[in-house]
Symmetry: C2
Subunit: 228 residues, 2 copies
DNA sequence: AAAATAGAAAATTTCGAAAATTGATTTGAT
DNA sequence: ATCAAATCAATTTTCGAAATTTTCTATTTT
């Protein structure tokens, strides 16, 4: 991959997704301005193509826009992180309740498979001394697990909102959490969610989800992890 | 107001809001294409200004876009209406719970005032033979009531999502419901919401909200109203 | 007559440059 | 020296036209 064209292998991926991925993987810091010119040159786009992408990302709530002052990432602190996390918990719980009520054996199988993969990655992370190399794969695997957990919910509106909330909370976590949200306790949390879902215990599953997400929100206050 | 310039008096209102208002008041029909050219001429905008507005509205979920096939209103039927309504109910209930938990006397006063205005309009509607002339003011008053009800909720994310869900459900209602969502039973429904909110009865208030919104969703199946 | 093809028209998307706005720097006045 | 006005550079926003894609219509082919 030539240094002059860092996206040569991503030619089939839309420019929108490339910029969004950059945002979601921490290429910019919290509160920083996202200049159209920078996007334009960095991703080899025309001025208006770059602007349109930034507009779309603003529509998804991943960026903010100020009249005549361009686009910027949201500022992130304990309060904003917890706010988004709580909102996400509300939607994850609602989706999970619907999934548990409507999901069939096929759903159970997919959920078990997704958790198996996630547990595999997280086990490696617990054993590793450096988390960083795992973050990208873990982020994808974690998103997939929660996606499958919600997938038997019959409401397209709720599903779309949940996914968006997940993306927003993920972006904030990447921006401020030392280990991007992963901690040792994450492993039993995911196991507990799976267990209650398979038991068709809606209340228990929602409690597990809330605990999982709350613990993420609280991580910011105790940045004493010795792993990076 | 000259016929050639239907928006002369709205000069201080942004073009975005003018187009959005047109959408929200039923200027276009469900599923219909929203051609950039039409917006461009109808609202006296340049091609790219029109496109940018349509992009923003898509970001808010009020329009859909299909690659190289432009923008269009969502198709609306019993299922989509109920889906959005259920989602809105989830968020309204969450906001109401927070408001009841956090609202002070000032909030109670504003809520009472908002309900008083709403009840006034709705009383006139019950007495009237034609609903149409009241729809615009009623829509505003109803939105204000639900806005105030939610306003003591401390979560900006939840508040923004609730407002958006309200707008989307309102647009769908305008598109398909015969009386745009108003029925005689709406009056006691709003009263019940107020009553439980002031009593600080979270469960009761949520039940009242759910009943209120469910009854809207069901209206589409019984279009036997003799008023228009 | 139905299906397929080709060509024309309509609509969407993309583009790079012009216009307007903001923020920073310099200049001038008190 | 301080504050205000004016100038300048950087950035965002707006624009109308060019390029692409889709859609419609007419023609040809089976």
């Amino acid at each position: 991959m030539a240094a002059s064209d860092p996206h040569a292998l991503d030619a089939h991926i839309s420019a929108f997704d490339r910029v969004k991925t950059a945002l979601m993987t921490g290429a910019f810091s919290a509160g920083s301005r996202i200049k159209a010119d920078h996007i334009k040159s960095q991703f080899d786009l025309s001025a208006s193509a770059a602007r349109e992408i930034l507009l779309r990302l603003t529509g998804e709530g991943l960026l903010l826009q100020e009249e005549n002052r361009g686009f910027h990432l949201p500022l992130v602190n304990v309060d904003t992180l917890n706010d988004v996390m709580r909102f996400r918990a509300l939607l994850e719980c609602a989706c999970a309740a619907d999934s548990i009520a409507h999901g069939d054996v096929e759903w159970e199988a997919r959920l078990t498979a997704a958790h198996h993969k996630l547990a595999h990655v997280e086990q490696k992370m617990r054993e590793a001394t450096e988390l960083k190399p795992f973050i990208e794969i873990w982020t994808r695997t974690d998103a997939e697990f929660h996606e499958v957990l919600a997938s038997a919910c019959p409401s397209p509106t709720l599903l779309a909102a949940r996914r968006n909330a997940h993306e927003r909370s993920r972006m904030q976590a990447i921006l401020v959490l030392p280990t991007y949200g992963f901690r040792d306790r994450t492993v039993p949390e995911h196991a507990s969610i799976l267990e209650h879902a398979l038991k068709r215990d809606i209340k228990g599953c929602q409690a597990a989800i809330s605990a999982h997400i709350d613990s993420l929100g609280n991580t910011i206050e105790m940045q004493s992890s010795n792993k990076r």
